[in-house]
Structure formats: structure tokens, C-alpha cells
């Protein structure tokens, strides 16, 4: 009876160690602070109507960005704790137990990959892809909202262990079996990981389908595939990767959960389970995932470099083929994550060589970026700083990657800090720098004012210098035989000075983040001085710059006919004025259904983690009821008459 009501919950789940108590107090205080602020400024209604229930991709994009930033702070906190522990744990246990340390880097990885990087990219895509292709909205506006809120519910679930449960997974971010099986990990930590990933995975999959269909079906007239801007092309490639790879993650983590909840034997070490199969499956998802993280950044940088060099992107067709090649190859290389599992030289060489092939389209892209700048007029605004920093780091990280693609070389660096340095170089140097550059670049379009250039450049230097100081020691540590994920080590290994250097680098990066926070606050305070009145603050080349800043919720009053992939540049050359002919526009209503379904989904996830049967049944019924209710709602769209459109447009022209 007790089990029926409470599942596996016991009094032990109440926070009782320093970090769970601290986390709970922080969450409660933050919630109270926000609640007080909203009540005093009477903004509850505004928040609900203007933001939370919105289906406007620009608003959803901004919400993704805010959510990603909050999760970023959590992820960086984890990172700092890891760096500190490793710097002091020579011949001592440091300040963290082994188990706690393992939980920290596990949550660091999951949060940074799923909730920070992917959310930032979905945010940027929501902002810009419809504008770039001349669309008014995504193909499925409701699914856009639902996808976002499912991601948020996943983010809540992954942080919930602070308040209820006390344990997160200690298995590494991919919950590798058989370590994540019941035999070695009976507590609910791994279940929290699995179900927060399922929730956010569902959100990502919906967003992936949405953007794919939008890009294929909703382009402005005249925009053939080979006239799409490169950011849209790269987003399309990333979406193809998402819809092909994320189902594998869903299925694989589901199988792991079945092993744990129903005592099945997919990946157990007994009963003829096959632990190697988990590795194959999870990396079949995992490798395309890391390309999902970097391919949109490539697209963003292509836009940035051509805009700030005031020159056409070199080799547009090659760039498209390079993106497609990388997308295709990313499905064929998963085994390089476990060369050391003894697959035999033929299999290992095959996967190693195919991995090396990726260097070719990557090289093509690098050359094209440099050739775009050649004979251009380079304006070194802050997005270009991030771009150059990205190129420097991309080549280092890429070299490290190709180096590890050779199986015998990998035997000596697999699971060492060399590997950790490589993938952080790619994620920070490519994905994160791309996000920072993209935010600076497109911020004026979405919010109507520019960010403070000087502070952004300062932040860049902190990040760039900090990155080298923090991660170059890790490459060296790899060659010193230091494995990843260890919570303490012997001082005789000589590793400590390098760990301390890395910690110093982290402090630089912290300064960079502090500068970025200050940057946002400063820019908002001084926004009146930095207004973008023309809609085209950077002398842009692609369609999004043809709208007002910020654009009206319907983006374009009239959708232009597309003649090239740099249609706005061409329009400006021919002399261009906004059309004053207005027509009725079909729009999508706000809806709270995405939030309601996600609340039920969150409760479902929670119920499954703790095996509380009645909660599982109730929340499942809730989700299904919401969906059925939604299916009978035939009035989700409405028409904005042309006169209304005219009024909104005139207001812009009046300034």
C-alpha cells in the first residue's frame, strides 16, 4: 500500500547533505524572488499572455535563450566544482567524495549538451530561420511551443534531485551500461537522467521535425534550395541529423530504463545481456549529436564572415556540399568512440578512415571562410572576433580529432584528458563561440538595439585566453597518462601544476561570463542610445535584414520574391523600398496547451523515476486528455485583416 502511494520515495529523499540543501534553498529563494517581482510589478498576466503562451517563434526563441542561459550557469557551477576538486586532490580526497564528483561531471555534461547548447541553437533558429526564408512562422506553431515546454520540463526534472532524491547519476553523461544498470546503480539518479533526457529529447525531436518541414515547405516564392542562406542550409542539415538520430537515443535510453525498471537484460552483465550493444547504440546517436551541435555554428559563421567582409560567401555550392557531406559521414563513424573495445583491425581502420574523411569537407569550409575574407573589406566588429577565435580553436580541436581517428594513436589517449580537451575545444570553440557570435550578430534584429561592442570584445578576450589556459594543460595531461573522471590522484604523477593552471583558466572564463552578464545589463540600460532604426545595422546580405528591428510578429507584411541567396544585398544594390501594399495575414493564436501537456509530462517523468503508479496513470491520462482536447480545437488560427497590418506598419514608419 505504501509502495502504491509513494513508490520508491522514502524520507531519505529529503535534502540532507550540504549540496542538496544548498540547491533546494537556492531554488526556493529564486522562485520566491521571481514571484515577488512579478506580483509587485503586476506582470503575471503579461508574462502569461505575452510570453509563456506565445507561439511566435521570436518569443519562443527568446525563451529558449533565457532557459539556456539559466542552465548555463548551473553547468558552469558544475565545471568550477570539477576544476577545483582536481586542482586540490593530489594525494588527498579533495573536498568532494568520489560519488559526488562523478555526479557533478555527469550532470555537467548532460546539462551543457542538452539544455544549454541545443537550447541556444533552437533559440537562434527560432529567431532567424523564418526571417531568412521569408516565412511568417514555423510550419507547426503549436508544436514549437510544446517542444520548448517539454525541454523546460526536462530541465526541471534534471535539477529536481536537489529537492527530492539527493542523487543524480554518477555514470558519465551517456549513462554507459553496464555501470548504469541496477546492479551497480540501484538509486534513482540514473532514472532522473534517463527521463529528463526523454522529455528534452521529445522536445528536440518535435523541434527538429518542425524546422525540417518549415525549411522544406515554407520558403518564400523563388527561394529554391540553392538560394537558401547558409545558416538555413546548415540548420536543415542539423535537423536531418536530429530526426534520424534522436529516435535512437529515445529507444536506447528506453531499453536501459526497461533493464532497470522491469529487470530486463538488454545490457546487463548477466543473463546474456550485451553491454557492447549499448555502446554501439548510444554512439550511433552520440556522434550525429555532436555534429548537431557544431553544424549550425558553421552556418552562422558563414553569414557573419560574408557580412563583415562585405563580400559574397566564397564557394556557396561547395559550402552546401560540405555541409551535406559532413551530415552523411557523421552516420558512419560511431565506432571511433570505442576503438579500444577490441573490434579488430579491419573494423577499426574502416571507422578510423571514414572519420578522417570528415577533415575534407571541414577543410573546404575553412578555406572558403578565409577566401571570403580575401579581397573583402573586413570590419572587425565583435562577431568577427568570435569568428577568428573559432577558426583558431577549430583547427586545433580538429587536429586533435583527426589524430584520435587513428586507432593505435587512440589506444594511448582514449578516455584521457586529451579526449576531454578535444571535445571541449570543439564544443566551446565552435558551438559556444558560434552561439555568442550569433547572439551579438542577430540581437539588434530581434530586440531593436545593439549590444555594447566594447564589452563584447572584452568578454571575447577573457574567453579566448581563458580557454587556452584552461584546456591546453588538459592536452598535455593526456600525454602524461591522466585519465578523465578521476576524483583524486598521486602527487608523484606530476599532474597537479597543470590542474592548477587549468583552474586559473577557469577563472579567466568566469571573468568572461561576468563581462557578458554586465554586457547584457549595460546594453539594456543604454538601449536608447544604440537603437537600430533601419533594420539593417550591419549592412547585411540576407533576407532577415529586410524587416524592421524588431520585426512585427508576422515578420513580413509582404513577402518578396527571391532571386539569389543574398537577396537583400541584391535588393539594396538595385535600390529597394518597403512595399506599402498590404494583405490579410493568417496567424496562430497563443495557447497554454503546450504548458499543460508539459506539466503532465513532467509529473509523468517524476512518477516513473520514483515508480509511483497512481501518478504515472494520472499524468498519462492528463497528457492524453490534453491531446484529445487539442485535437477538437479547430480554431487555433485567425486572420489579421490588411487594415490592421497597415496600422502596425505605419507605426514603424512614424518611428
Amino acid at each position: 500500500m505504501r509502495d502504491f502511494f509513494f513508490g520508491k520515495l522514502t524520507w531519505d529523499a529529503v535534502p540532507h547533505v550540504w549540496y542538496t540543501i544548498g540547491g533546494t534553498v537556492f531554488i526556493i529563494l529564486a522562485a520566491i524572488a521571481i514571484g515577488i517581482y512579478l506580483t509587485l510589478t503586476k506582470r503575471w498576466g503579461w508574462l502569461w499572455n505575452e510570453w509563456l503562451t506565445s507561439t511566435d517563434p521570436k518569443k519562443i526563441g527568446t525563451m529558449y535563450m533565457v532557459f539556456a542561459s539559466l542552465m548555463f550557469f548551473r553547468g558552469m557551477l558544475d565545471a568550477g566544482m570539477v576544476w577545483l576538486q582536481q586542482a586540490i586532490a593530489a594525494d588527498s580526497q579533495g573536498y568532494l567524495t568520489a560519488d559526488h564528483f562523478q555526479q557533478i561531471f555527469t550532470s555537467h555534461g548532460d546539462i551543457m549538451v542538452f539544455f544549454v547548447t541545443m537550447s541556444f541553437f533552437f533559440g537562434l533558429m527560432n529567431w532567424i530561420v523564418p526571417l531568412q526564408i521569408g516565412a511568417r512562422d514555423l510550419a507547426f506553431p503549436f508544436l514549437n511551443s510544446l517542444g520548448f515546454w517539454l525541454t523546460v520540463s526536462g530541465g526541471l526534472l534534471i535539477n529536481l534531485f536537489f529537492v527530492i532524491g539527493g542523487d543524480f547519476a554518477n555514470t558519465g553523461w551517456l549513462a554507459i551500461a553496464p555501470f548504469s544498470e541496477l546492479e551497480f546503480n540501484p538509486s534513482v539518479g540514473v532514472d532522473y537522467l534517463i527521463w529528463s533526457l526523454q522529455l528534452s529529447g521529445a522536445g528536440s525531436l518535435l523541434a527538429g521535425i518542425n524546422f525540417l518541414v518549415t525549411i522544406i515547405k515554407k520558403r518564400a516564392p523563388g527561394m529554391t534550395l540553392m538560394k537558401m542562406p547558409l545558416f538555413t542550409w546548415n540548420s536543415l542539415c542539423a535537423m536531418v541529423l536530429i530526426i534520424s538520430a534522436f529516435p535512437v537515443l529515445t529507444a536506447t535510453t528506453l531499453l536501459l530504463w526497461l533493464d532497470r525498471a522491469f529487470e530486463m537484460h538488454f545490457f546487463t552483465i548477466g543473463y546474456a545481456g550485451n553491454q557492447m550493444m549499448y555502446w554501439n547504440l548510444i554512439w550511433m546517436w552520440g556522434h550525429p549529436e555532436v555534429y548537431i551541435l557544431v553544424i549550425p555554428a558553421f552556418g552562422m559563421f558563414s553569414e557573419i564572415v560574408s557580412t563583415f567582409s562585405q563580400k559574397k560567401t566564397s564557394g556557396y555550392v561547395s559550402m552546401v556540399w560540405a555541409a551535406l557531406t559532413i551530415t552523411t559521414l557523421s552516420f558512419l563513424v560511431w565506432l571511433h568512440h570505442f576503438f579500444v573495445m577490441g573490434a579488430g583491425p579491419n573494423v577499426n581502420s574502416f571507422f578510423g578512415i571514414v572519420t578522417m574523411l570528415i577533415a575534407i569537407p571541414a577543410g573546404v569550409q575553412v578555406f572558403n571562410w578565409i577566401f571570403t575574407m580575401y579581397k573583402g573589406k573586413i570590419n572587425l566588429a565583435s562577431p568577427m572576433y568570435w569568428f577568428i577565435g573559432f577558426l583558431v580553436l577549430f583547427m586545433i580541436g580538429g587536429m586533435a580529432g583527426i589524430f584520435m581517428a587513428s586507432p593505435p594513436a587512440d589506444f594511448q589517449v582514449h578516455n584521457s584528458l586529451f579526449l576531454v580537451a578535444h571535445f571541449h575545444t570543439m564544443i566551446v570553440g565552435v558551438a559556444l563561440f558560434g552561439i555568442f557570435a550569433g547572439i551579438t550578430f542577430w540581437f539588434p534584429k530581434i530586440f531593436g538595439f545593439k549590444l555594447n561592442e566594447r564589452l563584447d570584445k572584452q568578454a571575447f578576450w577573457f574567453w579566448f585566453a581563458g580557454f587556452f589556459v584552461a584546456f591546453m594543460p588538459l592536452y598535455l595531461l593526456g600525454f602524461m597518462g591522466a585519465p578523465r573522471r578521476i576524483d583524486h590522484y598521486a602527487a608523484a604523477t606530476g599532474w597537479q601544476p597543470l590542474y592548477i593552471t587549468a583552474l586559473a583558466g577557469f577563472c579567466f572564463i568566469l571573468c568572461g561570463i561576468a563581462t557578458q552578464v554586465y554586457l547584457v545589463i549595460e546594453s539594456i540600460k543604454n538601449r536608447k542610445q544604440n537603437l537600430d532604426t533601419t533594420g539593417d545595422p550591419w549592412n547585411g546580405r540576407t533576407l532577415e535584414w529586410a524587416t524592421h528591428s524588431p520585426p512585427p510578429f508576422y515578420n513580413f507584411a509582404t513577402v518578396p520574391y527571391i532571386t539569389s541567396h543574398e537577396v537583400f544585398w541584391d535588393m539594396k544594390k538595385k535600390g529597394w523600398e518597403r512595399e506599402k501594399k498590404y494583405e490579410d495575414i493568417e496567424c496562430f493564436k497563443n495557447t497554454g496547451m503546450g504548458i499543460y501537456i508539459s506539466i503532465f509530462a513532467f509529473l509523468l517523468g517524476f512518477g516513473i523515476v520514483w515508480q509511483i503508479i497512481w501518478l504515472i496513470v494520472l499524468s498519462l491520462v492528463g497528457v492524453i486528455a490534453c491531446i484529445i482536447r487539442l485535437s477538437f480545437d479547430d480554431e487555433m488560427e485567425y486572420v489579421l485583416p490588411a487594415e490592421e497590418v497597415a496600422k502596425i506598419e505605419e507605426a514603424y514608419h512614424r518611428g
Binding site: 567524495t97 568520489a98 562523478q102 558519465g172 554507459i176 555501470f179 544498470e181 551497480f184 552483465i269 548477466g270 546474456a272 563580400k311 559574397k312 566564397s314 564557394g315 561547395s318 570505442f338 579500444v340 573495445m341 577490441g342 581502420s349 578510423g352 578522417m356 574523411l357 575534407i360 577543410g363 573546404v364 578555406f367 572558403n368 578565409i370 575574407m373 579581397k375 573583402g376 573589406k377 573586413i378 577568428i388 583547427m395 587536429m399 583527426i402 589524430f403 587513428s406 586507432p407 593505435p408 594513436a409 589506444f411 594511448q412 589517449v413 582514449h414 578516455n415 593526456g478 602524461m480 597518462g481 585519465p483 578521476i486 576524483d487 590522484y489 598521486a490 604523477t493 606530476g494 599532474w495
Partner: protein, 289 residues
């Protein structure tokens, strides 16, 4: 501006000097191989790096010179907004990396087959067979031909190929790594892998587990010692006088998860222990021993 540039150059120089110092020290295990396998792997690493630098270094030079020359402040640079490199440029862009990758692919194919962990090493000396069992959180080394075993102590004769059979029991995946002798290989419960290593000479090294497997992961290290053939034989005789026997019951105790950094020598080992451990996971039986 100039000071910032100089600080940057100084930082890079310090970084390079520091890296060289670190890599030159004996603590940089991967770069100071003491075994033929590690030696070959290091040579491969160096070859790969050089091949990649052939493309990377010119690309860096190209990048910085282009940015420098075409920066908006440089009035002298020619501005050509529609400039493209045409088909020759395309050919070079796709062709140059392809050539380097083809060379690296050939090198990789050869090296992967040559440095296949399962491939016996060339030597006139008969290989010494050692069976390694990874346990939570300790390593068991069984010398089946000598009939002895050790816990957390890997003693080998120099210049003799060591033929390792690796497995695990009751643990998640493990990885067996002695950086100075050669690359790692996974040791998995219910399965067996193989690895060949050979020490060039006398020496003491460290080996460790390199795949996370629980609380005792960081403590799962073991000392490795290579001695002369005569000293090895003497050591075997010494171990055979040890009072400790690796019986089935003691083995079952060892399988239980606990950090155990003690060094134990066993003069007797349960017969066919390694195969019995593997069989445990093939058929449903009571604990093997």
C-alpha cells in the same frame, strides 16, 4: 594595441615553452615509451601530427595574413566584392585535404593492422601468458603457466612478449592501460580480450583503469615492474612459497566491491580459474566456486 599584441605573443611563447618542458619530463608517460608497442604508437602519433601540420600551419598563416591585409583600416588593400577563385580554387580546396587524408588513411590502415592488440609481437622469446581479471576495484593477475597469481602487482620479464587475456568479473566495463608499455584495451565481464605488450628493459611503471566504474575508480591503479629473466624466475619461486592461496572462496570474497590496494601473492590458484570466470556468464549456475 601594440602592447596587447606583445602580451599575446609572450603568452603563446610561454605556453609553448611550458608545454615542451612538460612533455620532456619523465612524467609525460605517453611520450616516454618503455615498450615496443608504446614506441610504435608514439611514432604513429608524431607522423599523424606532422601530416596534419602540413595543412594546418599554412592555413593559420593564410588566415592571419588575410585578416591583416584586408582589414578595413588597411586602405591599400584591393576590395573586390564579387571575387571568386573559380574551378582551380575549388579543385585545390577539395584536393589538398583529400591528398593528405589519403596518405593518413594508408598510414592508418597499415598501423592499425600492425598495432592490432591481438597480433603477436615479433620476438625469439616465447610469450609469457598472463590472465588479467578486473574486479571492483582491484586487478587480479593470473600466471597460468607458473600456477601463481598476484593482486595489484604486475611483474614481467624484460624483452619478453607478454600475451594478456583480459576479462572482468562483477564490474562494469574496465579499461586496462599501462601508458609506457602500450595502448589500452577494455576488459569486460563475461568476455575476453587480448593484448600484447613488451618492455624494452628494466623499469617500474604504473598501470590503471581508464573507464569509470564506481567509487573506487581513481584508486584502481597497479604497479608494473619489468626485470631480467633470471630475476623473474627467482620471483616466481618466491611467490610459490607464499602462504596465500587463491581458492574459490577467497576469489568470491575478492569479487565483492571494495577498494583494495594491497599487494598479495598467491602461490596456488584454483585450477582453470579464468575460464571458470568466463563460463559463469554463459550459463545460469550458482556462483562458480
Amino acid at each position: 594595441m601594440k602592447t596587447k599584441f606583445l602580451i599575446g605573443i609572450l603568452a603563446v611563447v610561454i605556453g609553448i615553452i611550458g608545454s615542451v618542458i612538460v612533455l620532456a619530463s619523465e612524467n609525460a608517460l605517453v611520450v616516454h615509451p618503455k615498450g615496443i608497442v608504446a614506441q610504435n604508437e608514439l611514432e604513429l602519433i608524431v607522423v599523424n601530427i606532422i601530416l596534419m601540420l602540413i595543412i594546418i600551419v599554412p592555413t593559420y598563416i593564410l588566415l592571419f595574413s588575410v585578416v591583416w591585409k584586408y582589414c578595413i583600416k588597411n586602405e591599400k588593400a584591393k576590395y573586390d566584392p564579387d571575387h571568386t577563385f573559380g574551378p582551380i580554387g575549388e579543385l585545390m580546396m577539395w584536393g589538398l585535404p583529400t591528398i593528405v587524408v589519403i596518405v593518413m588513411a594508408i598510414v592508418t590502415w597499415d598501423a592499425t593492422h600492425e598495432l592490432n592488440p591481438y597480433k603477436p609481437l615479433e620476438s625469439d622469446v616465447k610469450p609469457l601468458v598472463v590472465q588479467v581479471v578486473a574486479l571492483d576495484w582491484k586487478w587480479l593477475f593470473i600466471y597460468p603457466e607458473q600456477g601463481i597469481a598476484t593482486l595489484n602487482y604486475f611483474f614481467i620479464p624484460e624483452r619478453t612478449p607478454i600475451h594478456l587475456h583480459l576479462s572482468a568479473d562483477g564490474t562494469p566495463m574496465n579499461s586496462f592501460w599501462i601508458p609506457q608499455l602500450g595502448g589500452q584495451i577494455y576488459s569486460m565481464t563475461g568476455m575476453t580480450t587480448q593484448l600484447f605488450l613488451m618492455a624494452d628493459g628494466l623499469g617500474e611503471y604504473t598501470g590503471r583503469a581508464v573507464e569509470i566504474n564506481g567509487e573506487g575508480y581513481a584508486d584502481m591503479t597497479f604497479p608494473v615492474k619489468s626485470t631480467s629473466a633470471q630475476d623473474f624466475a627467482d620471483w616466481v619461486e618466491l611467490v610459490k612459497k607464499s602462504p596465500s592461496h587463491l581458492t574459490g572462496d577467497l576469489y568470491n570474497e575478492l569479487v565483492k566491491p571494495a577498494v583494495n590496494k594491497s599487494t598479495i601473492f598467491f602461490s596456488e590458484v584454483e585450477s582453470n580459474l579464468y575460464n571458470k570466470i568466463l563460463d559463469k556468464y554463459m550459463y545460469p549456475t550458482e556462483p562458480v566456486l
